[in-house]
């Protein structure tokens, strides 16, 4: 239920509409993949993100929970 940092890999490029929504995540393009990295408040936010990726017809490659960035 609690906040955690995730790394999500998607095949291809993300459409602008989604990018605008992902301001609080770091987006890195590693052709042919796009990597989203950042902290999400809870599981509902993670599933929301995954369902959006799915709804846009993008292929999800990997979802990993990663150690939080030492900031």
């Amino acid at each position: 239920m609690s906040e955690a940092t995730y790394e999500v890999r998607v095949a291809g490029a993300l459409p602008d509409e989604l990018l605008r929504e992902l301001r609080d995540l770091t987006v890195t393009v590693e052709p042919p993949q796009t990597v989203l990295h950042g902290s999400l408040p809870d599981q509902s936010a993670l599933f929301g993100l995954l369902s959006r990726i799915h709804g846009l017809g993008l292929r999800l490659i990997e979802v990993r929970q990663v150690p939080a960035d030492p900031r």
Binding site: R20, D24, A45, F47
Partner: protein, 874 residues
Amino acid sequence: MTTDLLASKFAIPEPPPFMVARPRLIRALAPDRAPPVVVVTGPAGTGKTQLVAQWARETGPADHVAWVTLEDEDARTGMFWTYVVAGLRAVGMSLPAVTPPVPPSAPSRSFLTRLAAQIAEQPDPAVLVLDDVSALTDPRWATELEFVARHAGQRLRLVLVGRFDPPMPLHRYRLAGRLVEVRGGDLAFTRQEAAELLAWHGITLSPPAFAALLEHTEGWAAGLRLFALALAGHGDADRLVETTTGEEATIAEYFASEVLRAQPPQVRDFLLHTSVLGTFTPELAQALTGSPDAHRILADLEHRNAFVRRTGEEPHSYRYHRLFAELLRAQLAFEEPDQVPKLHYRAAAWLAEHGRTADAVAHAVQAGDWDTAAALLVADHAVGRLLLEGGAGRLGALLRDLPEHADGAAAALVAAALAVAAGDPDRGAACLARTGAATSGYDDATALAGRLVEMSLARARRDATGTLRAAADAERLLDRVPADRLERHPELRALVRTARGTAQSWLGAVDDAVATLAEAGAQAAAGCEYPRIEALGHLAVIEAHRGRLGHAERLAHEAVRLAEAYGRDHPPAAAAVALAWVAVERYDMHAAGRHLRAAEPAGDGPPDGLAAAGYAVVKSRRLQARGELRGALRVLQEVRGEPGDPAHPAHPAWLDREIALGEARLLAMTGHPDEALALVDGLPDPSRADATVVRAAALLAQGQPERADDAVTPVTEAAGVPTPVAVDAWLLRASVAAGAGDVGRAREALRRALRLAAPQGQRRAPHQVWSQVRRVVREDDELAEQYRALGRGPDRAGPSVGADPSGVLVVDPLSQRELEVLGRMAEMLPTEEIAASMYVSVNTVKTHIRSILRKLSASRRNEAVRRARALGLI
């Protein structure tokens, strides 16, 4: 389409008997300065719905809380907006000009714009609660809802409840301070709330046991309540907590071992077996389980707060809490997998018996019994729905995955209907072939479905004779259907009538077609929208052709209005062609061009033969009026040259004839009168009035005025000649007389032509010969006035360009782009929307608007729109 909207979709859920008040969350939901968007997310069973329901009840009716409970199929069946509009209306919002889209239409931009505009005009703000938006699989609803909310001013607040974050621009809302979020962490029960919940259930725990329980469940509401349920009647609560919280058990295991085990066997079976139902009455539960105590068991479960709640519908019906139902179904599938299809099958049988076809079909599909699903649909005469909605309606969505090899006549018919509706007649024919040689060996319902599918298939293949044959059989069978059954399916008659009228028109039986199509066009029952729009459009083209311009215009406007109301983005092509036809005959070339553009098939499937042929006729006349005779001729030759085999002609016979006559007339005008004569003489029925007039025109072009006059005279003396033909005949006689210098006869013939043309404002034909006969009327003021009056036909708002009531003249004509912007201004679209829809920048639109205001001498937009209407520009 008519759907009996379930009252339970709009009911704010009743509070359970043991309700823990959560004021901290209520306050979080509704801070003093309420933001426009509230999102409540958290895993299953965290009390989201209960919390929002409690808040909705407490804010009271003054706040207009519209509640819609969504389910998985609402996204697939395009019912989302139907429910939203119904939900808003249910709380007293007045939305007069809004009709939700009818499947298979998706909500159009104009529907969303209109809805937003009407919400913005409400005196009081409303709250729209959408419970479980996570159930909606297709994310389009979010974009559409975002659009409506953005344009509804401050009149609509959204409360979105779901298991995960909805696909809305939450980040943007957050930044703008327009979002309130209640998330899983907030929903977790605090120590105090958990203590209160247990106290409700009469459970006391020692402090260590209570702490262990809270830690184990992490404050998860469902976990706490399941535990309370298991503890009810359990002697030693502390020990149970010890045994259950020690291990890492999944909730499903815990549920199966502790909660279900604690129920008496009869109740346990009842719970498992009824879990296959969505919303159900005690009677249905009884039929399914064979348990005579269904009423008592359900009342008892509700009282004990065992995740069952009443839906507030009449007669009383219940549904399980979503999470609870999921757990029960998982348990049922684990314990008695072979029972699952049997239960669905039994539910289907009971529902079908009680007239709830769609629900019955859904259960038959879940039972994996496609044949029964199809048979239920056919027996209920619901095949018309499939033909009209295809895979977009609820039934179509349920049966879309029907396997190819499903045998049984009903399954083959359903597959054929879906294929025809999807525009694949070949596959439809292949499916239909599987039903056997003829459906006559079957019962009436199957035979009727078979004929309806055959009829639609014949229509799709432009086989008019086959369509008529199948339609006649279908009508005979329809007469044998009991009236109460037919009442539920008014679309069947509408389908058959429209098909019959279209086929009659195709075969050239125009009078019969008019009678049949008028019947279909008057069919206003719900579910008949699409056949009705089609019939009106077709009728409008016929009437325009017969010269009944005012009537054609009314019919076409009605078709356009209905299509727009039911969520189509484009006006029906036939109606747009009819309006263009009327405009061109009234010599309003600008309007004709606008309607022709509206009729352009926008790459959506094969162009309808009627609209394509009518389009060519109007376009050709428009070019002719501009003096581009070669272009006018080419348009007609192209459309006539379309390859068509005689059994499946590409256009209605009467339109083919009109095209040939137009071609002949243009050939005569461009110096090929011999070819023109050959073409006319080669027509079927070459001595009919319409052909006679064109023959006379060709003779005149050959330099034989006397023969031309002799040929056309009988037409001017006959009764029952269509007005456009009679007008042409008199004009031809006027030309002959003027050419011979016989002023008196020329004037008389002109007077007759103008008198015939006046009632419908037919200005085009007289205008075409005016230059030839002008000198004849030079000294005849009366005649000149008669001619001028033509431009101000009886049912015209005024001349296309000229003085409007305020006495302003348009000095500078508007450009094409300006007219486009003006049209969108008339739709009340904001500047940004206009820019987006025209793919130009906001500044460009602003420039256009300034220029429009200048040209129309208007100071404000609405004034410009009003003035443009008065001038007939839009």
